[in-house]
C-alpha cells in the first residue's frame, strides 16, 4: 500500500480541490496549496488511491473510477463550502476538466499543464506504439521510464529529483516509471474529455509552459477553444517544463491561480456568475477587450 500524502489546509468557507498528476502524489501541488491557503482558501489535496501512486502488482483502476472518486470528493466539499474551485496538474488537469464538464456548479477550474496527448518534445517518436502495445502481452511487462528532464527546467531541482528517483523510485514529481495500463487509461480519459469539453461552463484558467516536454501547448489550446466557459484566461510560460507547480515559474502559477479563483468567487458571490471581474487598471481592461476581440 502506497504512503498516503493527502493534506488539508484549513481556511475560509471557499474551498479548492487540487488534483495531482497520474501515479503521483499531492506533494507536487503543495506549494500552490500553501499560496491558496495564505489567500484564505480551504485547500484539499487528496491522494486518489488507484489514480495516484500504486505499488507493483496493484491495479491502477479505470479512468471512470478515477473520475467517480474525484466527483465523490467534490460533492462532499460542495455540501460543506459556499464555493468550490478545482485545480489539477497534468492528468489531474484532465480529470478536473472532465469533472467540470459534468458538474456545472464548480466555481472555477485551473488547468495546469493539461495533458490531452503525450506529444511534448521529449516524448519519443515511437509513442504511438504504446497504444498498440496495450493489446499485447507487453502490457504486463513494459513500463515507460521517466527520464531527463523530469518535467523540470530548474537544474537544481532536476538534480534533486534524479537523485530521489535513483534511490527510491519516487520523488516530489511522482514515480520513475508508468505502466502501459496507466498510459492506456490516461489516453481513454483524454479521449473522453475531448468529447465533453464543450459542456464545461465554469470559469477556466489554463496555465501551460510553451516548452512543456510532456504535453505540447495544443492540449491547452484545445481546452480554451472548446470549453463553453464565459470567463477564460490563458497564461503561457516560457521558463518552465511540465511540472509548473514546482519549476522556475511556480510563483507566477500560484499568484495567477489565486487571483483567478478570487475573482471567480467574487463574481459568483456578487451576481451568480455573470458579472466580469473588478478591474481597476484601465490598461488591463483595454488588454482584456483586445484579447476578447482577437478570440
Amino acid at each position: 500500500m502506497a504512503v498516503d500524502r493527502s493534506f488539508h489546509l484549513k481556511g475560509n468557507e471557499h474551498a479548492v480541490l487540487l488534483i495531482h498528476g497520474l501515479a503521483s502524489s499531492p506533494l507536487e501541488v503543495r506549494y500552490l496549496a500553501t499560496a491558496l491557503n495564505r489567500a484564505g482558501f480551504s485547500v484539499f489535496a487528496p491522494q486518489l488511491p488507484s489514480y495516484g501512486v500504486v505499488q507493483a502488482g496493484e491495479s491502477c483502476g479505470t479512468w471512470q473510477e478515477w473520475l467517480d472518486d474525484i466527483r465523490a470528493r467534490y460533492f462532499v466539499l460542495e455540501g460543506q463550502f459556499e464555493t468550490v474551485c478545482v485545480g489539477g496538474l497534468s492528468m489531474g488537469a484532465t480529470l478536473s476538466l472532465a469533472l467540470a464538464a459534468q458538474e456545472r456548479s464548480i466555481t472555477a477550474v485551473a488547468l495546469l499543464s493539461i495533458t490531452l496527448a503525450y506529444d511534448g518534445w521529449a516524448v519519443p517518436w515511437y509513442r504511438w506504439l504504446f497504444n498498440v502495445g496495450y493489446y499485447t502481452p507487453l502490457r504486463n511487462i513494459y513500463r515507460f521510464h521517466e527520464g531527463e528532464p523530469y518535467g523540470l527546467k530548474n537544474l537544481q531541482l532536476r538534480k534533486k529529483v534524479a537523485q530521489a528517483m535513483s534511490t527510491t523510485a519516487f520523488s516530489d514529481i511522482g514515480p520513475s516509471t508508468l505502466s502501459m495500463e496507466q498510459l492506456f487509461q490516461a489516453r481513454q480519459l483524454a479521449r473522453y474529455v475531448e468529447s465533453v469539453t464543450h459542456n464545461a461552463v465554469s470559469d477556466l484558467l489554463v496555465i501551460h509552459a510553451v516548452d512543456d516536454e510532456t504535453a505540447s501547448p495544443k492540449s491547452a489550446e484545445f481546452a480554451l477553444e472548446k470549453a463553453a466557459s464565459p470567463h477564460k484566461r490563458k497564461v503561457f510560460l516560457d521558463n518552465s517544463y511540465h511540472i509548473i507547480t514546482l519549476d522556475n515559474e511556480r510563483d507566477t502559477v500560484a499568484r495567477e491561480t489565486t487571483l483567478f479563483f478570487q475573482e471567480s468567487v467574487r463574481r459568483r458571490l456578487a451576481t451568480g456568475m455573470t458579472q466580469g471581474p473588478q478591474v481597476v487598471n484601465e490598461q488591463l481592461a483595454r488588454a482584456k477587450r483586445l484579447a476578447e476581440m482577437d478570440e
Binding site: V210, N281, L284
Partner: protein, 280 residues
C-alpha cells in the same frame, strides 16, 4: 530563444496520413487521365502539388510518407518504359526526372518545415509576451487596489483619531513623530503639520522634555514600554498633565514597525482642570 515544441506545429494523429493517401489517389487519377496527352512529361507534377500541400498542412512525416509512396507509383505508371520498377531500363532524362523530383521535394519539405516551425515558434512567443504583459497589468491593478485600500484605511484612521477627543500619535522606528492628531493641534494652538518630527517636544513643559526624549529613546531601544507622565502647553499658555504609554505596532513576524499611543488625562475634564499649571 528556441522553443523545442515548435516541431509540434502540425496536427498529430493518423488523420494526416489518411488525408495524404486520399490526396495521392486523387493526384494519381488526374495524372492517369492525362497520361494520353502528357506522355512522359512531368510524371510527378500532380504528386508534387500533393506533397507540398500535405507538408504545409500536416508536417514533414506525412509529406515524406506521401513522397515515398508517390515515387514508385509515378515510376511505375508515368515514367517510360512504363509498368516496370527497373530504373536502369529508363533513359537518362527519365532517371533525372525521378531524382530531380525526390531531391526537389526533399528540399521543399525541409524549407516549408523550417518555416512552419518558425511561424509556430513566433506564435508561442507572442502568447508568452501577451501573458507577461497581462500578468504585469494584473500586478499593477493589484498595486493600485492596495494603494486605494491603504488610503482608505489611513483616512478612516485619521477621521477616527481626530474625532475621538484624545491626543493620538504615531512614531517611526528610530525616527520622529509622523502623525499627531488634530486634537493636540487644537489643544496647543500649533498647526498639526508643525508638530511632526521632533517638534512635538516643543509643546512639552521644558522640565519634562528632556526626560521624555530620553524615555522614548530607551523604550524604542529596549522595546519595553512604561507609563509616562508629562505636561503639554495649551493654546492659552497653561500646561495640562497627560499620562500614557507607547504601544508597539508589529508585523506578522513580530517585528516592530512603529510606535503609537494616546496619552490620556487620568480622570475627567474637571479633574484635569485642577492639574493645570501656570506657565513661567
Amino acid at each position: 530563444m528556441r522553443i523545442k515544441n515548435a516541431k509540434r506545429w502540425a496536427p498529430s494523429g493518423p488523420v494526416g496520413y489518411f488525408v495524404a493517401l486520399g490526396a495521392l489517389l486523387a493526384a494519381f487519377l488526374i495524372r492517369y487521365e492525362l497520361q494520353a496527352q502528357l506522355g512522359s512529361l512531368v510524371p510527378f507534377g500532380s504528386f508534387s502539388i500533393v506533397v507540398l500541400w500535405v507538408q504545409t498542412r500536416y508536417g514533414a512525416w506525412r509529406s515524406m510518407f506521401a513522397l515515398a509512396l508517390s515515387i514508385p507509383v509515378g515510376l511505375y505508371f508515368f515514367v517510360p518504359p512504363y509498368e516496370t520498377f527497373d530504373i536502369f531500363a529508363a533513359d537518362l532524362s527519365d532517371i533525372l526526372a525521378v531524382l530531380g523530383y525526390a531531391i526537389t521535394m526533399g528540399l521543399a519539405i525541409f524549407i516549408i518545415e523550417s518555416l512552419q516551425r518558425a511561424r509556430y515558434e513566433s506564435k508561442l512567443l507572442a502568447e508568452v509576451s501577451r501573458t507577461r504583459y497581462e500578468v504585469l497589468l494584473r500586478s499593477e491593478s493589484e498595486r493600485q487596489s492596495a494603494v486605494t485600500q491603504a488610503r482608505q484605511s489611513r483616512d478612516h484612521f485619521r477621521t477616527f483619531a481626530n474625532n475621538v477627543g484624545e491626543v493620538v500619535y504615531m512614531k517611526r522606528m528610530g525616527g520622529g513623530f509622523e502623525y499627531v492628531s488634530d486634537v493636540l493641534a487644537k489643544f496647543s494652538g500649533v498647526p498639526a503639520d508643525d508638530l511632526i518630527g521632533d517638534n512635538w517636544l516643543t509643546v512639552m513643559h521644558p522640565e519634562d522634555a528632556a526626560s521624555i526624549a530620553e524615555q522614548i529613546a530607551q523604550i524604542t531601544e529596549s522595546r519595553q514600554s512604561t507609563l509616562s507622565e508629562f505636561r503639554l502647553r495649551m493654546a492659552n499658555g497653561l500646561y495640562i498633565v497627560f499620562e500614557g504609554k507607547m504601544s508597539a505596532m508589529e508585523d506578522e513576524r513580530g517585528l516592530t514597525l512603529r510606535w503609537t499611543g494616546g496619552p490620556l488625562e487620568a480622570g475627567d475634564a474637571d479633574a484635569l482642570q485642577t492639574e493645570v499649571l501656570p506657565t513661567d
